[in-house]
């Protein structure tokens, strides 16, 4: 059990929860969260929004039973964190684009921060798409070299993939697919890394309910992912 330090409302549906937890989480990894005993039965996978050695933060959207429970938690309450799980985004340098849609912006904050820390010479441009209200733009601006915000439109329209050495994205599958198609159609050479959001049960690679059928064979989103190459996920279609 870990202690909740903060659980703050950010916008109508979004909350930011900071939890006391020794960790070595890296960008793009996730935890399985549980703030109840038996039911709902499954723990909920949530990406690491931010982390230092002693704390982990999660940016989550309230969509159903589990996240409704999360949003009621107060500082001092306890929560079970299991993780960090998954491979996370790869290290990269040069000209980097991070493209997020909706709650998919969550893992990109730590990603921008870590990439800039490791490679001060790299440039990190962020493209964030929201259907409703934009959020945490100040935080993202502090982490990246530039932030382009799109509210209500298609964030994939804002980016010129040919300008980058590597592109990483997280968001609705349809958005990531459109971005992949755009990269192909404009002849971008940058590898595109996508973070998959499949429904999970065990979260550790044992049950195969989160399988992605890729061009390189079946991959477990929780263990072999969630980050995969766009070409292996969408290349067959």
């Amino acid at each position: 059990m870990s202690k909740i330090l903060e659980n703050q409302k950010i916008t109508e549906d979004f909350y930011l929860m900071k939890v006391e937890q020794d960790n070595d989480a890296s960008m793009g990894q996730f935890y399985m969260l549980r703030a109840w005993d038996k039911y709902p039965l499954l723990s909920r996978p949530i990406s690491v929004y931010d982390a230092d050695e002693k704390t982990v933060s999660f940016l989550y959207k309230v969509v159903g039973q589990g996240t409704e429970i999360f949003k009621e938690l107060k500082s001092g309450d306890e929560i079970t964190l299991d993780g960090p799980h998954g491979n996370g985004f790869p290290d990269a340098t040069g000209k980097i684009a991070l493209v997020g849609g909706g709650v998919g912006v969550a893992p990109l904050y730590l990603t921008a921060k870590k990439l800039k820390e490791a490679h001060p010479e790299a440039t990190v441009d962020m493209f964030l798409g929201f259907s409703g209200e934009a959020m945490l733009v100040d935080a993202y601006e502090a982490a990246a070299d530039s932030v382009t915000v799109n509210v209500g439109g298609f964030v994939t329209d804002d980016i010129d993939p040919t300008k980058y050495d590597v592109i990483m994205t997280c968001g609705p599958e349809i958005m990531m697919k459109v971005l992949y198609k755009k990269c192909v159609s404009v002849g971008a050479t940058a590898p595109l890394y996508v973070s998959m959001e499949n429904r999970m049960a065990c979260g550790i690679g044992a049950c195969l309910v989160c399988t992605c059928k890729t061009a390189n064979g079946n991959k477990r989103a929780c263990k072999d992912g969630p980050v995969m190459l766009g070409s292996e996920v969408f290349g067959n279609e």
Partner: protein, 301 residues
Amino acid sequence: MSKRLETVFAGVTFKNPVALASGTCGFGKEFNEYFDIQKLGGLCSKGLTLHARGGNDGIRVWETPSGIMNSVGLENPGVQHFIECDLDRMNSLDLVNIVNLGGHSMEDYLQAVEILNDYKLDILELNISCPNVKAGGMNFGVKTEMAREVVREIRKACKHKLVIKLSPNAEDIVSLAKACEEEGADGVSLTNTFLAMAIDLKKKKPVFENTYAGLSGPAIKPISLRMVHQVAHAVSIPVMGLGGISTWQDAIEFIMAGATVIQIGTASFMNPRLAVDVIDGMERYLEENGIENLSEIRGIL
């Protein structure tokens, strides 16, 4: 640990009667990062088939009140790959190595059984909750006579201890279990998942590509317990009981209903260390009640 939990199932000794159920624990590697899986009495492999299978498309898991539905579709690397990559490791563990086998035709089952005959393993658990492609997709585990035929052929071919894993969707699970016994099975395990359905209201479509999926978890426990009770009274071969076990009390209930060994599946998703808690809880219960061995309370109801 005392010998209170030691159990003999069809001549195979389990140091305790708790195994992880097929399909919920892979081949044991991942759970070993949470606890020493050698604390378990047994481990059932992911359901294997003769050839590798990619499994089903679309959503594969859906939560229900106190349960889940799954539609994995027997994704697995195939028997040969299992033998090359996982069998030795599973055999080297201090636990009963239960290899689970599925199939979609009699020929598939038989070929896989022949291949496995050449290798060491402790128990072959035959999953008959699979559609028979040669009988219009009718599940092997529904009609007693179809199940009887599979068990008869496989018994003739199989050199290993053979446990038949029964489907709760059987038309008459008691007569089906009796048929397994008559055809020479060494034991039965039950239950597999219950055929179930969920509908996506927004899309006005079934959630699962296959329309139906298998329900498991605490939601099914009372029904699985009743079936274990009925079957254990009707056959003299030993029974492995499972279906929704999520506490040590549940495990003891299955033993009282007549199960020799119990398996834990879905509940490991609530807590990956649950099986160890169940083992510890059972041990404590026996100690506190002055019971020297689980056999004193097995099948007392």
